[in-house]
Structure formats: structure tokens, C-alpha cells
Amino acid sequence: MAEYLQQYLPQSLAYLTAALVHAVLILVVVALGTLIFIWLERKVSGRIQDRLGPTRVGGKFGWLQTLADGLKLITKEDLRPASADSMLFLIAPYVSLCASYVAYIALPFADGWVAIHLNVAVFFIVAVLGLEVFGVMLAGYASGSKWSLFGAMREAAQVVSYEVPLGICVVVPVLIAGTMDLVAIGQMQAGWFFNWFLFHDPFTFIVFWVYFTCATASVNRAPFDLAEAESELVAGFHTEYSGVRWSIFFMAEYSSMVVVSALAAILFFGGWNGPLPITHWLGLADSANPLAHYVANLLGLINFLGKAIAGVTFMMWVRWTLPRLRIDQVMATCLKYCTPIAAFGFAGAVIWTFLFPGGLVIPNKDWVVQEEYQLDEPQAQSAASTSAASTSPLAHADSGLHAEEHHGTD
Amino acid sequence: MSGHEFVDRLKKQFGDAITTVNLEAIDPWIEVKPEGLLALCRYLRDEPDLRFNMLNCISGVDYFEPDEKKAAKAGFEPHIEVVYHLSSIVHKTTLVLKVMLPRWKDDQPGNLPEVPSVSSIWSTADWHERETFDLMGVHFSDHPDLRRILCPEDWVGHALRKDYEMPLEYHGIRGR
């Protein structure tokens, strides 16, 4: 984008504008996402619990319930306990939010639709998400409340431990792809669903579940929500927070839920590539026409968001079903189960890729971009994808009405 | 074992400690002197064919009529009874012990009557005695932690005494 703007603006201004546009777009995603996901959580939990959930605000389904709640929270007094460490108490929610917000920067929403195309995107996201714990720890420490301190201590112990298996799990798709570039990883899984890394080999399948468990734990969702365990610690680290600051913690929580789900979608579920190669059937992805490419990306975006939302919904389902673990059991789950299984999966995936470099389903490796692993520039990528697509036997085939129908259900 | 046999056996064992026995009452009861209470209770709990291992309840009853006109017709001398309801889970039997105490020790108002604590025999007596102390004003000697349990610690008076008057104010809260 910056390159495009440079044609009209001075370089520094062009970059600044591009950055601003990206930042605002991501902020919209984060804020809007939080609004939608809190609404979704209430609706999902309501349905799980034989209730209706919100029904009034904003029409039949209570669409605007979260917005109404947000307005209420804004009008609430911003309380600060007398015993709190004032400055840390005030900045803690923003530290949390920033950490999960920054993770979006490297997250591709569709083929090439990414704020900053990092070639170490996986590493970046995992590292940045780990920073969220600082906000929680600061909040717990600075609140001047013993319950908050308990929450912070638990969070610190838990998140730091779960980073280990989480890291190992994330490395497995990276190992198969040979790159940390999320865009490239996504492109490699183009085509049919069996090209997804989830089905690459049995080990990745196992590793995905470990990843999801660890991701749930690292974003503090039940049954690992020890830091805010309301039946034990009142509200844990955010006991003393109210109003906007409290809601910022919520935004951070929900946006990191989305990030880990989206990361799972890219690493294991093909990102924006559907279970069926519809964009190829329609001839959109392979077309040289930028508009067609744009439409393909839009469809991919919907696909990708659908997967992320499914992941988040799954987390909600788990949350409203299971009791909470105890702190020692949380640590035992991590150290006794998650880490060894992840390590086993990692070793297995190494051996598997060594023995069957093409993956589980070899006949369809046409869809796998193999020839260009080291992609440094977007241009090279699109070139690669078009060249791969032009050799594909399915390209441009069957782009009729039949495929259109599939779109609706995609 | 019939009631009379049982009482005879206790009387043989404890002699003077058992003062009155009422086997005709709805719940037959035995009156015990405070001095003999502890030994009797231990005996009742540990004897293999008695095994009153559960203390159901300790209740204080204030026999007192504040209205002087009615007091003449009340039919009792002012006193406080501490009633122990025991039951045996082994033999499925129950027993009532009563201890009669003066309303004030040595007839000096404010001087709580004393009875030995049975919390060393049944742990549940701990809280029950605290409650009786709190509301009825009976001092249980040798109780490990005789504090008020239901009322705040700085509360004055014992609410279940018949002559208790609700304070007009407690920490700025209107009482009456």
C-alpha cells in the first residue's frame, strides 16, 4: 500500500498514511470482533444453558447488546483503589490490549492481506501474545488486592508454562512448511481440505489438539481461567477494575482468543483456503485480473474468519461445559501431558516429513507450492501461485453454477 | 434396657451428680449437677452399650418472667437450664441431659453462670457452646475459644435472656 501511495505522496507521508490505515483497520477488527464475540459468547452460552441470551437491544437477536453494555461501562466511574500502585494500575489494561492488538499486525486475513508481511510472522505472533501476561501481572500486582495478586501469580505460572508446549506445537507446521511466513504457510495449503496441515500426517492431527488446549490455557479461557476464577478469586486480576479499563481487559481477552484461533486456522486449517478449491474452480485465484484476485481474497477472508469464529465458538462451548481445573492440575496437564505429547508430535512430524516429503496425500501435491519455499517478496509469491495454478489439472474447470452453490455453504 | 434400669445404673456410677430424673416427660430427661457433667458425658459416650457419640444440640432455656405480676403465677423459680440432646448412632437411642443453673452466678447480675464445657468430648459442642454463651449468657469453663459466634464481638448483653433489652443504638445503627 505504501508503494502505491508513494506515487502521489512523499515517501514518509506515504508510509505514515499506510501505517495509519492498517492500524485503523486492525483496530476496527479488534473492536468490532470483541463486540461480536462478546455478543456471540452470550448467545452461545445462553443457548447452551437453555436460555435465549440477549433478545432486546438492536432487534430480534440482541445484536447491539454488547454496544449497550459498552456504553454503560463508559459511563461508569473509573475506580482506583487507594492502595493501588496508581500508574501501573492505569496502564495494565493497555499493556494487555496492545499485546493482543500487535499480534494482528502479522496475521494475514487472506492471501497477501496482511498489515506487515513478516517472514517470521509465526514467531512474532507467539512472542507478542506472550506479552499479554505482563498486563495481567501488572494489574494483579498493582491492584493492591490479595485476590488480584493470587490471580496474577497464577497467570504468570500458567502462561509461562504453557508457552513451552504451545511453542513446540507451532513449530510443527512451520517445520512442514519450511517457513515462518504465515502467508506462505497459508498458500501451501491451497486446494482441497486434505492439503491442510491438520491432515498432513497423524502427528499434526495430534499436535493440533495439543495446540488448541495450550492456546485455550494461554488466553485464560475455561477450564484454564484460573487467573480470574470467579468462584475462588472473586474476579482474579481484574477484581479491582471497573468501567472502561475493565472492558479493555475483556477486549484483550477476546482479541487474543481470535488471534490464537486464527493462528490455528492458518497453521492447521489452510487459512483462507477452503475445504474445496472453489476459488480455483471459479478461476478467481489464478486470474491475472486484480479484481478477480480481490474477489478471491474476499472469499478467502470470509472462509478464514469463519474458521477463526468456529475456533472461538469451540472455546466458548468448552467454557460453558467443563468445570475449572485446579492450579496444580493445570500445571500437571501442561508438564505431564501437553509438553510430552507436543514433543512426541514434533518428533513424529520430523520423521514423517523425512520419509514422505509430499505429505499424506501425494497425488494431489499439485496444489502444494513446493518449488518456491523461500519467498521474500509478494511479487514472487503471486508469480509462484499463478505458475502452480496454471499447471493444475483442475484450473478453470467446472466454474459453473454448481460451484456457485458451494460458495453459499463455504 | 428400660429407663429405670438405666437411671439406676447411672446413679450407682455417679451418685449425687444426678439430682432429678423425669421419665414421664415427653422426652425423658436427667438432671445433672454441673460438677458431674463432664464425667457423666464421657461415660455416656464411651460405654460400649451406651455410645452416645452424637451431641445433637445444646440449648439454653431461661426460666424467668420479667413481668412481676405474672412471675408469681409462672410456676417456676427463675433459673437457666442448659439442655443437652444426645443420641447414639450405634444404638439409635436418644437421651436428654439438663443442667440447672442460677440466672447469675452468686446472684450478682452480670456474673455469668458457669458450666463445664463438653467440647473435649464432642467437638460439635464448641460452636453450640459459643452460641449458648452468645445468646443465653452461660459461661462454659475450659472452653478453648469462648467468643461470641452469631452476634458481633462487641455486642452487649445476651439476647435470649428474658430480661434482655435491645440496645437503642449500635455503632450508629438504630436498634429500636
Binding site: 468462584s231 475449572r324 492440575q329 | 432455656v61 440432646h85 452476634c151
Partner: protein, 401 residues
């Protein structure tokens, strides 16, 4: 921990830690009302949990000394407000014992029917709230959904949903409305499969078992010593249920009813219901067993209600005439204990011949059950404290009275 700093070994090998006093309650989500626990913690480990009670104290006993027994019935509702019918029943029986009242057959079955229905309602709340204590929200609402139906039935019977004042001295305030028995049976029919859902969500849930099995083990001796009763006592393996072992006046209410006391004998629970197996990690007397006894008692109560419906509908005649509001009481005292959902609820009435008793005393089961907290919570983790206190299933209204 009180370490001695002059001991060089400690300085060298151990980081010096301090104990922290934490106030759990009286405003805390998992203390079931206004219980206050003062925890002495070393990190996550609780070395001491001291319960402080009295935040809901209304001195109901003093009120009882100024009202006639029938007038005090509404106050008994407010003791264990989750099992108001059982409270009414306990006090009514105590007064009837003092007055030596005999009740017609129909009143007996009516009382069994209503009391056991309330037991189901109460155990449902106990179960749901226990799930809440362990951090799962949905079973709570599933439990309340079913309880709501019982409350609807009760509402038809007496007009109230929580504080019923329905069972009263001499019988009940009214007969059951027409068609009520059919509704009640329909409710029981649809409750049966729901119980399996609860078992799936809680009793056999791996996380639930890990959180409760082997936690807060209460030995039978200690349970008796602390006067624990009801499911807490039976969860420790003591075969004692007042409905079978109580006073004659109470047990004859259940004459002819087929039921088995829910307690583990020789490693087995009574086999008259389908039930999930006891997990290997569960120890007799732990939180899991206490919870489980309650779950099985729901089934037992459902059986009893069915029997009561049959018997009640076969009886003709009167459902019992309530005594006059200012009925004179005979001189004397009477103590009566009944098996309430939370344990043995005792009422002691002393009368001097007037219509107003000289003393009305309530021995509450939760009061005694709670007193064991201090012993149970020693050395557990913070997360176990709600698990243990929740498994005792206390109601503060009953403790503080």
C-alpha cells in the same frame, strides 16, 4: 511460614516466605451467602480456614418466644430457605409432639409427598451451586430449570415459591389442588432423564472427579464427633438416616414406604437405581461422595414421591386440620429432629402452659456441618476451599438463624 531467620539452613536452602491472611467473604461469589472464611495461606496452600458466621443473624429464636407456634412457621421458612417445607415440617412435628397430636393418614402422605419434593428441589440447588463452585456454570442453570418446575408446583399448592408456610401444626394449610398429582408425576417422568445429564456433566466428568475425589476427606468418627448430619454424614459412610432411625413420631410418617438409606456399604451404594460407578480416586468421606449421596437422594426422593402420590390418592378423608392460631400448649418441653435435605434439623420447644412457647430453639444442620470446615480445609489449596465448603451444602439462613 514462621521461619526462624537465625537458622542458617533455612536462609540457605529456602526462600523465606510469609503467610498471608485473606478474607474470603462475606461478599464472595462462592461462600453461599454471607459466610466469611479467614484463610491463612502460604502461596496457594491454605494452612488454616476459620469460618466466621453471624452476618445473617436475625435471632429467630427470640422471635419464636414472642409468637405462637403457628405464627413462627413463616420464620422457619426463612431458616433453610431452600427447603422451607422441611423446616415447616420439623417445627410442626415438634409442636405436635408437645401437644401429642395425632394426624390423619392423608396428612401423613401429604407431608411425605411435599417434603420429598422439596428435598429434590433443595438437592438440585445444592448440586448446581456445587458445579458453580467448581467453575462450571451450565449445570447450575440446568438444575434451576428443573427446580423452577417444582416451585411452580408448590406455587399451585400454597401460592408461594420460596417461603411456603404450607405444612403447619396439625396438618397443612390446604389440600392439594385438583390435577396436581398428575402434574407432579409428569414432572418426575421428565426429571428422570435429566438426572443422567447431571451425572454426565458433573458426577462422571473427569475434571469434576479430579477436583472432588480425595479432597476434604471427612472420616466417619470425625463426622459424628462434629455432629455432621445428612448427606455429609452418609457421605462418610455412616448408615444413619432419621427417616429410618429417628423418633417414632417421625419414622411412622414413612411407615410402609420402601426406601434404602443412601450410604456406601462394603464399597457399594444401594443398587436400586442406575448410577455411575464410584471413581477409583474417590475416598469415602470426600467431596465427591458427599455430592454423590445428594445425587442419589434425588433419585430416592423421586421414588418416595411416587409412592406418596399413590398412597395419598388412595386415602380419603381429611388432610389434617391446622390447630387454632392461639392454641394453648401443654406444659413441658419437646425436642424433635427431622431429616432435612441438609441434615438433621432439630426443633426444641419449651412451654409453660401458655399459647406462646417459653423457648423455641432450632438446631441447624448446616451450623454443625460448617463447624468441620476448619479441620477439612487444613493444608488444602485455595481452589479446594470452595470445593469443600460447597460439598457441605450450607445455607447461611439456617446457620445464622
Amino acid at each position: 511460614m514462621a521461619t526462624q531467620t537465625d537458622d542458617p539452613r533455612i536462609i540457605e536452602f529456602d526462600v523465606r516466605t510469609d503467610e498471608m491472611l485473606v478474607n474470603m467473604g462475606p461478599q464472595h461469589p462462592s461462600t453461599h451467602g454471607v459466610l466469611r472464611l479467614v484463610l491463612r495461606t502460604d502461596g496457594e496452600i491454605v494452612s488454616e480456614a476459620t469460618p466466621h458466621i453471624g452476618y445473617l443473624h436475625r435471632c429467630a429464636e427470640k422471635i419464636g418466644e414472642n409468637l405462637t407456634p403457628r405464627q413462627w412457621i413463616p420464620y422457619t421458612d426463612r431458616m433453610d430457605y431452600l427447603a422451607g417445607m422441611n423446616m415447616n415440617l420439623g417445627w410442626s412435628l415438634a409442636v405436635e409432639k408437645l401437644m401429642n397430636l395425632e394426624l390423619p393418614e392423608k396428612a401423613r402422605h401429604l407431608r411425605v409427598l411435599i417434603a420429598e419434593m422439596n428435598r429434590i428441589a433443595s438437592h438440585l440447588v445444592g448440586m448446581g451451586a456445587y458445579g458453580l463452585d467448581l467453575g462450571t456454570f451450565s449445570p447450575f442453570l440446568y438444575a434451576f430449570r428443573e427446580r423452577e418446575k417444582i416451585l411452580d408446583l408448590f406455587e399451585e399448592v400454597c401460592g408461594a415459591r420460596l417461603t411456603y408456610s404450607y405444612i403447619t401444626v396439625g396438618g397443612a394449610t390446604a389440600d392439594l389442588p385438583p390435577g396436581w398429582l398428575q402434574k407432579c408425576e409428569a414432572f418426575l417422568d421428565q426429571l428422570r432423564p435429566v438426572i443422567d445429564e447431571y451425572h454426565a456433566l458433573l458426577t462422571t466428568n473427569a475434571i469434576f472427579v479430579r477436583r472432588t475425589a480425595g479432597i476434604g476427606v471427612l472420616s466417619a468418627e470425625k463426622a459424628i464427633d462434629y455432629g455432621c448430619t445428612g448427606p455429609v454424614l452418609r457421605g462418610s459412610g455412616v448408615d444413619y438416616d432419621l427417616r429410618r432411625d429417628g423418633e417414632q413420631r417421625y419414622t411412622e410418617m414413612y411407615d410402609g414406604y420402601a426406601f434404602e438409606v443412601i450410604v456406601e456399604r462394603d464399597g457399594h451404594y444401594p443398587k436400586d437405581h442406575d448410577y455411575p460407578p464410584v471413581p477409583k480416586t474417590a475416598v469415602l468421606g470426600d467431596c465427591w461422595h458427599r455430592f454423590y449421596v445428594r445425587m442419589l437422594e434425588v433419585m430416592q426422593a423421586m421414588d418416595l414421591v411416587r409412592q406418596a402420590i399413590d398412597r395419598y390418592s388412595m386415602c380419603s378423608g381429611d388432610w389434617g386440620t391446622p390447630v387454632k392460631l392461639t392454641e394453648k400448649l401443654p406444659k413441658g418441653d419437646a425436642y424433635m429432629e427431622t431429616e432435612c435435605p441438609r441434615g438433621q434439623m432439630g426443633f426444641y420447644i419449651v412451654s409453660n402452659g401458655g399459647s406462646i412457647p417459653l423457648r423455641a430453639r432450632a438446631r441447624s444442620s448446616s451450623f454443625c456441618n460448617l463447624s468441620v470446615t476448619y479441620d477439612l480445609c487444613r493444608g488444602c489449596l485455595i481452589a479446594d476451599v470452595p470445593a469443600i465448603v460447597g460439598s457441605l451444602d450450607i445455607v447461611m439462613g439456617e446457620i445464622d438463624r
